[in-house]
Subunit: 228 residues, 2 copies
């Protein structure tokens, strides 16, 4: 199972299909169509948020899905599959991979990363560490995550507040761990993607630049405005 | 009315929100949400295809809309609002601007471009010429179109089969006509947009690069594949 899923995504483009509440394209039906478009464009996997979206996507697209549940809790900055409760919800879907906050911040439910990883493995699913620093990546590698992703760099207070993808983190993770490393987060421009490719990550996740037309419009609009 | 509409779009980004039958995102409800996303991202206008899509978009977005109806007829290569029939259908909507094929190819309905332009003007709407060559643009200027767009360059057999936008055509149209010129067609990469901006067009239309996730995925995927 693990080898099979990893082989399917190896070297490819995973498209993150997310529209949160309040976004124009929010809704499982639209996200499932977005996933079809991504598949038709050559995506090797989909990253999706919420049980509803994942179920809708799994019905129509036969690609490995990285499932997350974004949820905020009081007094914590964790928001990507932050507790065992969200993990259990994701285990009720057909996702191949569960991604979760693997930062070293205090656990909301006092259940350690290692216990969560073991719980997911016991259910025969892969687990991806969304991390923001090298230290977190090295810890994730030790704990036994199947994949480590640079997702959270720039999204924790103490990580690099870079504009584009965190190439340094990506490069060091690849050198210093034995886990497949996913390049994810802030890959928006062609040059971002090219910079990331130089490091030869295991796979690449792109989201907003493909599936968030508001942000794409804003990007082109800013080029026009800057030209005036 | 004319001045008012032109002022609203001047110097801005018009987002083409189209998903034809067979595309994953096809459907008026989705296209209207796409238009909301475009507006929220700073679009000054929307280009849309079909009465259904236009009506759905007009209900939710208060921006000038360039309406077209794509329809193919036997023995003709015209497909953008090709006959008076489609013009009449568009006049039943609230579009501010009707765009039509303004090439010099034989008319399907034997009604001249001039007659069509006059018909639209009599209904107090603006009319945009979608052209593919300088000759067609100069003719559109003479006939009295309110706007001329480079839309069809590369999409008629006899026009430049360029990969990116037809900068030469854009530049010559701006020099040789007195009609506001819209840069449209094949603006996909950042450098395409920057090249177009150098010519100072009246406004810019971008479609697939914003609203066709399949083609955007394909684009990023090709960068990844070329890197291997």
């Amino acid at each position: 199972m693990k080898i099979d899923v990893l082989n399917k995504i190896k070297g490819g483009l995973i498209v993150s299909c997310q529209a949160l509440e309040g976004e124009a394209l929010h809704g499982s039906s639209i996200m499932s169509k977005m996933a079809i478009a991504a598949r038709d464009g050559g995506a090797v996997g989909i990253r999706a948020n919420s049980v509803k979206d994942i179920k809708a996507i799994k019905k129509v697209v036969d690609l490995p899905v990285i499932g997350i549940i974004k949820k905020t809790y009081p007094n914590s900055e964790r928001f990507i599959t932050p507790t065992l409760k969200e993990i259990k919800q994701l285990l009720d879907t057909d996702v191949e991979i569960i991604a979760m906050d693997a930062t070293l911040r205090k656990q909301i439910d006092s259940i350690s990363l290692k216990e969560k990883v073991d719980y997911i493995h016991a259910a025969n699913k892969l687990v991806m560490a969304d991390i923001s620093t090298l230290e977190e990546g090295i810890e994730a590698d030790k704990i036994g995550f199947d994949l480590i992703s640079t997702t959270l760099s720039g999204y924790t207070k103490y990580s690099n507040q870079n504009q584009g993808p965190d190439i340094k983190l990506l490069s060091e993770l690849i050198k210093k761990t034995n886990t497949p490393i996913i390049a994810e987060g802030k890959i928006f421009l062609e040059k971002d993607l090219k910079n990331v490719l130089q490091e030869k990550p295991f796979a690449i996740v792109i989201g907003s630049a493909i599936t968030r037309p508001k942000l794409i419009t804003k990007h082109y609009n800013s080029i026009i405005e800057n030209f005036k």
